[in-house]
Amino acid sequence: MSNAILEVESLSKTYAARRGFMGGQIAMVRALSDVSFSVSAGEAFGLVGESGCGKSTAGRAILRLIEADSGTVRFKGESVFDADAGRLRRLRRQMQIVFQDPYSSLNPRRTIGQTLSEPMRVHGTGSAREISATVHEVLGEVGMPRDAAEKYPHEFSGGQRQRIGIARALVLRPELIIADEPVSALDVSIQAQILVLLRNLQQQRRLSFVFISHDLGVVRHFCRSVAVMYLGHIVERGPVPAIFDEPLHPYTRALRNASPVPDPAAKVTMAKLEGEVASALAPPSGCHFHPRCPHATDLCRRVYPPWVEVSKDRGVACHLYPAGSAAMSENRETTP
């Protein structure tokens, strides 16, 4: 805990959404409910889940790009939510974000050099010459040629733009990077290039990551621990690969089983998981997953399961694992 660079506690966020004809009604969407986790220095922490689970909202709330309703976020012990404008600005230098869509993440009217040097000029981190040197250095670090600085985004491919987006996140020398689906919009071979790049950067710069993704394979490859989210809640948290090899929560298991694997002998299994991901506008009562869960009981329909730490670094919110039970051995199914 003392080694934690980021500590998130009880993060909650509810949106008011307009519904109905002419937007007459207002419904509350609970995007985040009581989300807590911590990231150790130099660690890559994964946040996985399907659309609507709140993982992107969590990433933005941590950086205060969205204001959370409640909860705390501590960066190196300092509260992010309590910071005033000046402190926040300084904090922003240390926590950065990389986006999913390489075609939306760069200003089409600015050269790469302008895009990369602007953060440094705004924060006053050096003379013009130093800034220029840093721009070229960072371009080299992400595998882009020096002359990229004079060009415009549309002259580059998606993978190259993603590299530039990563470079922009690095110019202020942050210690934590929130990577929001950084490889999801890329081709498979480019994906691998970017993942290798991120890994190298992590080692060279001792970066910590909050790695948001819906792709379990990518998360297994990159992250040391992961939290699985469903409809705004964390339903399971634990170390990679244990959480994928022996998932506790039925949703984690279903997610893993449904993830396609390039092996014809391991066909995607649907098992008994029917139904849609419920809408966040009207989440089911009790445990939000119960309508789709093969193990649902009456208790599941009525009461939201409490968070239980089943071991030192694994936790789960599921009635199959009541507090204090040696749950690990019990509910593991033999068929994956």
Binding site: L65, Q96, F99, S104, T115, V122, Y152
Partner: protein, 289 residues
């Protein structure tokens, strides 16, 4: 499909210049406008006669060697008066459109970026302004405040602000959702910086297209107001005023009304071509992004 070739881009004005040259319509229209503008600017040197100099003997004379376009009802040289009248048109339209761009554009970007109640109120105000046809606004202002050049500019500006605000707001709404705006906030950029440095350059294209079209509207409005006698007072030469005089003398000398009308026609034609050409070249590029 990832098969599109890349084109080199530089700043907005240079882009404008290149698209002007590349697009026949835009360059033709731009050429016309430029010619007329030069004529207006250099009127003092180009006019063969003093526009105010009267010569009763030459009343309503047709074109002659000395007076290529003939003389008006006071014997004044029509050619010189057209050149000098262009100055008024140029001045009024340029100033009012410029002010409208600055105020309207700023309001539009602010409104789109801030959103919420501010946006709703501002747009409601814009709707009120939009409901006034330019001519009616001109009548109101001039009737209440008097027929000076300044009031003319005020009237036109008031009606031009709303369209520019709308046209700046629309792309602002889409652009502010793009990730690079969020990246800027994550990097600690102030909202002002984001609006000026990041949103504005992406909005400039549309504004320029609208500007050329509104210049035409402004010229037409000034001429219309002068025609009904509420514009710049005689004896100052204005195209609208000249048409009015021509109207009064139409049975005796029809050419009096024809020449200033042609002048207005040519300028508006040129401006519309310019605007259309600009719109054609800027749209596909925006979609490209």
């Amino acid at each position: 499909m990832t098969m599109l070739a890349a084109t080199r881009e530089t700043g907005a004005l240079a882009r404008l210049g290149r698209s002007l040259l590349r697009n026949k319509m835009a360059s033709f229209g731009g050429g016309i406008v430029l010619l007329m503008a030069l004529g207006a600017v250099f009127a003092p040197w180009l006019s063969p006669h003093d526009p105010l100099e009267q010569d009763v003997l030459l009343r309503l004379a047709g074109p002659s060697a000395d007076y290529p376009l003939g003389n008006d009802s006071f014997g004044r040289d029509i050619l010189s008066r057209i050149l000098w009248g262009g100055r008024v048109s140029l001045y009024v339209s340029t100033v009012s459109v410029l002010i409208a761009i600055v105020l309207g554009g700023a309001l539009g970007i602010l409104s789109g970026y801030i959103g919420g109640l501010f946006d709703r109120i501002t747009m409601a105000a814009m709707d009120v302004l939009l409901s006034f046809p330019t001519l009616v606004m001109g009548l109101l202002v001039v009737a209440m405040l008097g027929p000076t050049v300044g009031n003319l500019i005020l009237a036109i500006t008031l009606t031009a602000i709303a369209p520019f605000a709308r046209i700046a707001r629309a792309p602002t709404l889409t652009i502010k959702e793009r990730d690079f705006i969020e990246a800027g906030r994550a990097l600690g950029f102030s909202n002002l910086r984001i609006m000026v440095v990041h949103i504005l350059p992406n909005v400039v294209d549309e504004i320029l297209v609208m500007a050329s079209l509104w210049l035409a509207t402004a010229i037409r409005t000034e001429a219309s107001l002068s025609f009904i006698g509420l514009g710049v007072r005689p004896p100052t030469a204005t195209w609208g005023g000249m048409i009015r005089e021509g109207f009064e003398n139409i049975l005796d000398q029809p050419l009096l009304a024809v020449f200033p009308s042609i002048a207005i026609l040519i300028v508006m034609f040129g401006l519309n071509m310019l605007g259309d050409g600009l719109r054609d070249t800027s749209d596909p590029k925006l979609r490209h992004e």
